[in-house]
């Protein structure tokens, strides 16, 4: 379990980092928190010729909150989100989700950009990004582009990023203070990978009915996904026990989980429904 040999560079500017990645014709990898990439190196699933360490890029450590929403620099660590009291009000769904991300020591190192680029299907942040219609900004020597979260995750550990691109920012759209939301996750041990998780929110119209419902699930497919069928049930309805029960059934029917060592497909399917049910109860409470 030792990594293959590689060269190492630790640039202090983004420009330098981008040109280092461009110089290796796709054989270089960016190293953010290293909490997923270093194990992949140890297992020799990844074998880059050059690691470009982003940890000295202080310019990517910001959390900005303004009229455009919440902007998280790619090198923001989980710990930093956890400690930013402004986020409790400006994006409570993000805060609730990040509470489930990994364990104490990993939270001190793991980053926003690293998690997104790794694209584990059970990752909480990926699920939040897709559910909230977030935008991911990436940069390369060729320039900068903005990728919608829905177009970003292509499959397990696969994203729309080119090998030369670095994520610089995740932007979550503005969050109205009256918004109803819920986040629920099931893992055998808090901090482990989700066997299923649901993130959802809706706004309430003056007549008391829900609108703008966004429902996302994690850990039950090859990438985080929104459940249009469940959103259709919620939009225009009062969120009461019958609606919640219908949403639960629709969620279980909509997902297509695969079986693995941790759970059968049928169990994960039922769990997806239960997570949506619990998150909705939390949202409506």
């Amino acid at each position: 379990m030792k990594s293959p040999a590689f060269d190492y560079a630790c640039p202090t500017t983004l420009v330098e980092a981008v040109s280092l990645l461009a110089s290796c014709k796709g054989e270089a990898r960016a190293l953010a928190g290293g909490q997923s990439l270093v194990p992949m190196l140890a297992f020799r699933i990844a074998a880059p010729t050059l690691l470009v360490d982003l940890n000295k890029l202080i310019e990517l450590r910001y959390i900005k909150i303004d009229n455009d929403g919440v902007r998280l620099g790619a090198m923001v660590r989980w710990r930093q989100i956890e400690n930013d009291v402004r986020l409790v009000r400006t994006h409570p769904l993000l805060v609730a989700a990040v509470k489930h991300v990994a364990h104490y020591q990993i939270r001190n190192r793991g980053t926003v950009g690293g998690s997104l680029a790794h694209a584990d299907p059970a990752a909480e942040l990926s699920g939040i990004a897709v559910t909230c219609e977030a935008e991911i900004t990436a940069i390369s020597a060729a320039g900068q582009r903005v990728i919608r979260a829905t177009d970003f995750f292509l499959g397990p550990l696969t994203t729309a990023l080119t090998p030369e691109e670095i994520i610089v920012e995740l932007r979550l759209p503005p969050w109205p203070t009256q918004r109803r939301w819920g986040f629920e996750e099931f893992a055998r041990r808090r901090g482990d990978f989700a066997m299923a998780a649901a993130a959802l929110y809706y706004d309430t119209r003056p007549d008391g009915k829900a609108s703008n419902a966004h429902v996302g699930v994690m850990g039950v497919g090859d990438r985080p996904q929104r459940l249009a069928e469940v959103e259709a049930i919620l939009n225009g309805s009062v969120i009461e026990p019958e609606t919640i029960a219908a949403a639960e059934r629709a969620a279980a029917a909509a997902v297509n989980p695969s079986e693995d060592i941790h759970a059968s497909a049928a169990y994960r399917r039922a769990l997806a429904g239960t997570m949506v049910e619990r998150a909705l109860k939390r949202a409506a409470a």
């Binding site: 630790c10 190293l31 909490q35 270093v38 140890a42 940890n55 190192r109």
Partner: protein
């Protein structure tokens, strides 16, 4: 190809050359002979290799040694004294919080980081934080009790002392 590395370990400056692929855990054990940092899973699951980097508890198997350039690293050796037990160690002994001892360095470093920052944390918080450290013999109840009982030492104004 080796690269130069300068950092501080348990208060002492270290200047060595390392291969970029060397993890901090292997660097501490094999190059610096600080074998108190245990290596269990080598992929960030067991917590046995936990050390403090600039005060934060991190998994030394998930950090490359080169990434410690300029950092202050504290290992279990840095949290121990030859002459007597620290309050946290004494609490582990008193509460039978170890048997084989393999996980203990990781438990102690993690608990030390927690109590240094949150000396008034409750049992739920201790459990949450220690959930990243696996123990395969003692069971966790006595470990949680030991950490909770050690809080008082960290609540003193001048820290846990030695």
């Amino acid at each position: 190809m080796s690269v130069p590395l300068h950092f501080e370990v348990n208060g002492k400056p270290v200047a060595i050359e390392v291969e970029p692929r060397l993890t901090l855990a292997d660097c501490l054990r094999h190059r610096l002979r600080l074998t108190g940092t245990h290596v269990g899973c080598e992929h960030g699951v067991c917590g046995a290799c936990t050390v403090l980097v600039d005060g934060d508890a991190v998994r030394a198997c998930l950090m490359l040694a080169v990434q410690a350039e300029g950092a202050k690293v504290v290992t279990i050796e840095g949290l121990s004294h030859d002459a007597h037990l620290t309050p946290l160690q004494a609490s582990f002994r008193k509460h039978h919080a170890l048997q084989c001892g393999f996980c203990t360095p990781g438990m102690i470093t993690t608990a030390h980081a927690l109590l240094s920052e949150e000396p008034h944390c409750d049992a739920a918080r201790v459990r949450e934080v220690l959930s990243g450290n696996l123990c395969r013999c003692t069971g966790y109840v006595s470990i949680v009790e030991a950490v909770l009982a050690a809080r008082v030492a960290y609540q003193k104004k001048d820290g846990p002392g030695a």
